[in-house]
């Protein structure tokens, strides 16, 4: 268990009547880059808060490198960019980074951090006079400066424009390439798809899917088989192998399938092939299906890929 960078066991957190996190389990081995993907209110930030030791779980356990978050922080093994983190007033970027670097045993050289966060030109400027995007880069630099083994980023690109976002991910990937573990949360599908080795989809406080983006698409049972049918009866279609749902639109039936091969074979055996189309899912569809709270959710509970 201690070989895991992050190990969350049956984590639960309730705010009033809202169950923010509900029996969440997640293990992240060292070296992975993991995206925590979910809509707003899915429980991503609360989960991250518990990983960082900022939020006390109602029940369950959050272990970082086999111990409590506080220990990992004290040892300088975990760096983080929390969503509600802020910067002090009346200090320059360089003063701030030098101070934070000084709290770590083996920080990165200041010039490297400034370069990685693209702040070299801003080093002498006061932190409270920076733009939103620049301030966000300073918070990224603060997370990096101690050269932690585990980097946790809560919606790191939320305030950035497209170009800044692209450059941010370059910096993050260079960091991860040094064998570091990175966990970031996002509600941008492309970011999870492009920058993570593994995607953990969270909805309503629990993990609803976990795997590579290809695996997620497959698990989400989103291959759609469509064909022209006559009449309104869809009962026989529902009973075909591999079909999870049927929708009738404009004389065509759209079948959502977990095993499209079996479904197509069964349609062929029934002699019912008319204008047949098989459409693979994209991640967006998978995400919508996984987080819509529809029939897909119970089917996926406990799925581990």
């Amino acid at each position: 268990m201690s070989s895991e960078a992050v190990s969350l066991t049956e984590l639960t957190k309730t705010y009033g009547t809202v169950r923010a996190v509900h029996g969440l389990n997640l293990d992240i081995p060292s070296g992975q880059t993991v995206a925590l993907l979910g809509p707003n209110g899915a429980g991503k930030s609360t989960t991250i808060g518990m990983m960082l030791g900022l939020v006390e779980p109602d029940s369950g356990r959050a272990a970082i490198f086999g111990g409590p978050a506080e220990q990992a922080l004290r040892d300088g093994r975990m760096g983080a960019m929390p969503q509600e983190g802020g910067l002090p007033s009346r200090v320059t970027v360089q003063e701030l980074l030098r101070f934070v670097a000084g709290t770590y045993r083996a920080p990165l050289p200041l010039e490297d951090v400034l370069a990685a966060a693209r702040l070299t030109g801003e080093a002498g400027r006061r932190v409270d006079r920076l733009s939103g995007g620049q301030a966000q880069r300073v918070r990224f630099a603060l997370a990096l400066v101690g050269d932690p083994d585990l980097l946790i980023l809560d919606e790191p690109t939320a305030a950035l424009d497209v170009e800044a976002r692209r450059r941010f991910w370059e910096g993050m990937r260079r960091f991860a390439a040094r064998g570091k573990t990175v966990l970031f949360s996002t509600h941008y599908l492309e970011e999870a798809d492009e920058h993570a080795d593994r995607i953990v989809v969270v909805d309503r406080g629990r993990v609803v899917a976990d795997g590579t983006s290809r695996e997620i698409k497959r698990v989400a049972a989103l291959t759609t088989v469509s064909l022209t049918v006559s009449g309104d009866s869809t009962t026989w279609l529902r009973e075909l192998p591999g079909v999870t749902s049927v929708e009738l639109r404009g004389g065509r039936a759209h079948l959502r399938c977990t095993d499209s091969d079996a479904t197509v074979a069964a349609i062929a055996a029934a002699g019912a092939i008319r204008d047949l189309e098989v459409a693979p899912a994209d991640l967006e569809d998978a995400f919508v299906a996984l987080t819509a709270g529809s029939a897909a959710t119970p089917a996926l509970e406990g799925t581990s890929l």
Binding site: G49, R74, G76, G85, S89, V91
Partner: protein, 242 residues
């Protein structure tokens, strides 16, 4: 922790509020009270000495509270949360902030005492100077703790307001602006229990060549304990809410 203290001191020195309210205002008030408020030959030296101690105490106290206001702002902006994610422990932050509080009170006290010497020709024996500087300095600790308690318990603006109200209220009630001898009886009775009156009174006794009363020392010690517990409570309260 020393790195934190250094960072905090740099921030305080760039804080206009601190320079105006913590250093300039008590000095200017001292000069106004001692130059305008007096008929010539009316025991001028004694009044200059009396008000010097009062205003130095006021300056020290104001800076001590201002230190706590800064903490409230850092909590509101999320800097304290970010700080919790560094190897620096929350206890080290509290200790660093207390040490910072003990440093930032020095300029206000020093400015008023210097004005006393240079402008109002206050003369004391070297031992008396050493003693009143030490007493005025150490006596700010209860106020530093009060300010930090407010900073941890309240956020941003409300911490600032609470600390400003406490500075003004304690200055007036403790007789730093007007001597309590001129207070009506009931207010005088209250004033004698305030931390401000006893803080200034200990130093005044030394300045006038008397030994401080045990009563003042005990009352100030009592406040130190109460406000220390308040700061501790505020610190724990803030810890639960990151």
């Amino acid at each position: 922790m020393l790195g934190y203290v250094r960072l905090e001191l740099a921030r305080v020195l760039r804080d206009v509020t601190f320079l105006v309210f913590g250093v300039a205002m008590p000095t200017v008030m001292y000069l106004i009270f001692t130059t305008l408020g007096l008929a010539p030959g009316d025991g001028r030296q004694e009044v200059a000495l009396f008000i010097m101690v009062s205003m130095a105490a006021y300056g020290g106290m104001g800076s001590a509270f201002n230190n706590g206001t800064g903490l409230g702002e850092d909590r509101a902006t999320g800097w304290l949360r970010q700080l919790r994610l560094t190897p620096l422990s929350p206890t080290a932050v509290l200790a660093g902030k207390t040490v910072t509080g003990m440093v930032v009170v020095v300029p206000g006290i020093a400015a008023v005492l210097l004005a006393g010497v240079l402008i109002n020709d206050v003369t004391l024996r070297p031992a008396q100077w050493v003693a009143i500087v030490a007493l005025l300095w150490l006596g700010t600790i209860p106020f530093t703790l009060f300010g930090l308690g407010n900073g941890y318990r309240l956020t941003g603006q409300s911490a600032g307001l609470a600390n400003l109200a406490a500075t003004m209220g304690l200055a007036v009630a403790g007789g730093l602006w007007l001597p309590i001898e001129r207070f009506p009886g009931w207010l005088k009775a209250i004033a004698q229990w305030t931390p401000t009156h006893n803080y200034a009174d200990i130093a005044r006794h030394v300045a006038f060549g008397q030994s401080p009363t045990l009563r003042s020392a005990l009352i100030l010690l009592g406040w130190l304990l109460v406000l220390g517990m308040y700061a501790r409570y505020g610190y724990r309260y803030a810890g639960r809410r990151a």
